[in-house]
């Protein structure tokens, strides 16, 4: 096939718009979130003492940390859909890292040192490690579709970003259930759980984000 002939083909193909329509993308997003919420309400549920617990700054901290991580990564996720865009990852992580550090220091200052270790290990670390990745599956799939729909030129990095953002979102949801309130618990197990989803995203991205 001559290049001129290919050009004729491409000109004829203009009527079908490339990429996923916005409406269908919104539907995927709704499905991904519904998937997380279904798992959440089927296996976890909102903690019984939620209305009381939410007055505790340590509980509020969990939500602030997760939300700040997601909000920080979202622009980078969008940037990685464009082939020429710089994807600023490290600079984006500064704010959530500061928030986490403030949470850790506040916890150390407000609780006696005898409780530091027990607070960090918590009561349900393995539930945290299982639940956050499980809740992240739907959102991760949606983010990978969103990025694949664009033109990512760094598939591993973009996949890791999608994983980290999905992990942050599911950490927010898991915090509605999580009975471990020490910020040291969040610093250790939430980070580890989000890290697992990040690695999963990177591994999937390597294969799924090619074009």
């Amino acid at each position: 096939m001559k290049t001129d002939e290919l050009i004729t083909l491409l000109v004829e193909d203009q009527t079908v718009k490339p990429g996923t329509p916005r409406l269908r993308m919104a539907l995927y997003a709704a499905l991904g979130l519904a998937c997380s919420l279904a798992i959440f309400f089927a296996f976890l549920g909102i903690r019984a003492d939620f209305s009381f617990a939410i007055t505790d700054p340590h509980v509020v901290f969990k939500f602030i940390f997760a939300a700040s991580l997601f909000a920080a990564l979202w622009p980078a996720v969008l940037a990685s859909t464009r082939p020429e865009a710089d994807v600023p990852v490290l600079s984006r992580l500064i704010l959530p890292a500061i928030i986490l550090a403030v949470g850790i220091v506040a916890q150390l200052l407000t609780s006696p040192s005898d409780y530091w270790l027990s607070g960090m290990i918590g009561r349900y670390p393995s539930a945290c490690l299982r639940s956050i990745p499980a809740l992240a599956i739907g959102p991760l799939a949606v983010l990978l579709v969103l990025i694949h729909n664009g033109a990512p030129t760094r598939p591993v990095l973009s996949g890791a970003l999608a994983g980290c953002a999905a992990g942050a979102l599911s950490a927010f949801i898991y915090a509605l259930h999580c009975p471990d309130d020490s910020s040291l618990f969040v610093a250790l197990w939430y980070s580890l759980a989000i890290g697992i989803v990040t690695l999963l995203g990177a591994a999937l991205g390597r294969y799924a984000l090619k074009w």
Binding site: M1, K2, T3, E5, L6, I7, T8, L9, L10, V11, E12, D13, Q14, T15, V16, K17, P18, G19, T81, R82, P83, E84, G150, A151, T153, K210, W211
Partner: protein, 186 residues
């Protein structure tokens, strides 16, 4: 540099009008784009050490990729880096196919590319081979339009399909071609 700026500005305005539905502008865009992509690809191929014989195939794959990803160009962004990034992405793919596993540095930019006409002695048969992997209807539509220059309306009449169905089949066929190239082992 003004000559180069002028060149990318012209491409940007053509693609903008093409995105608004002007097919003649889209043809002009692709016709002006092809020699520049070829120029950039030739320099890139020289740098990554892949055979020059792959040049025209690489140009076609890049044009196909730009076509299928044209919605990722934002009209408020310069078009040169966008075209350059896609071309680089395809050249690095090509280098990997030739077993260059290490990280490849390709600092050619689209703005530096010199326009280069097609070299008739170089093979441009990869697309034809890849056509074997798409469905029969898609292949028939692609061949009729590209090689025989038949219009979509005529293809639709001949295949007793609606024009809409032909357009969808053409689009899917092009996506399948891009996918087949990506999976191709050289």
């Amino acid at each position: 540099m003004t000559g180069f700026d002028h060149r990318t500005e012209a491409l940007a305005s053509l693609l903008q009008r093409a995105n608004a539905g002007d097919a003649a502008c889209y043809r002009l865009f692709l016709e002006q784009l092809a020699p520049l992509v070829r120029g950039m690809a030739r320099r890139g191929i020289g740098r990554i050490g892949t055979p020059l014989a792959d040049l025209e195939d690489a140009v076609q794959e890049t044009l196909l990729a730009i076509h299928l990803k044209r919605h990722t160009w934002r009209e408020d962004q310069p078009i040169g880096p966008w075209i350059g990034a896609i071309t680089r992405h395809k050249l690095i793919d090509l280098a990997r196919k030739h077993g260059r596993r290490k990280e490849i540095e390709l600092d050619e930019t689209f703005e530096q590319a010199a326009a280069e006409p097609a070299d008739p002695t170089l093979s441009d048969q990869e697309m034809n081979r890849l056509l074997e992997s798409v469905s029969e209807t898609q292949r028939l539509i692609i061949r009729s339009i590209s090689i025989n220059g038949v219009s979509i309306r005529e293809v639709a009449a001949k295949l007793m399909m609606t024009e809409g169905a032909v357009r969808v089949a053409l689009h899917r066929g092009l996506k399948a071609l891009a996918e087949a190239y990506r999976r191709l082992e050289l």
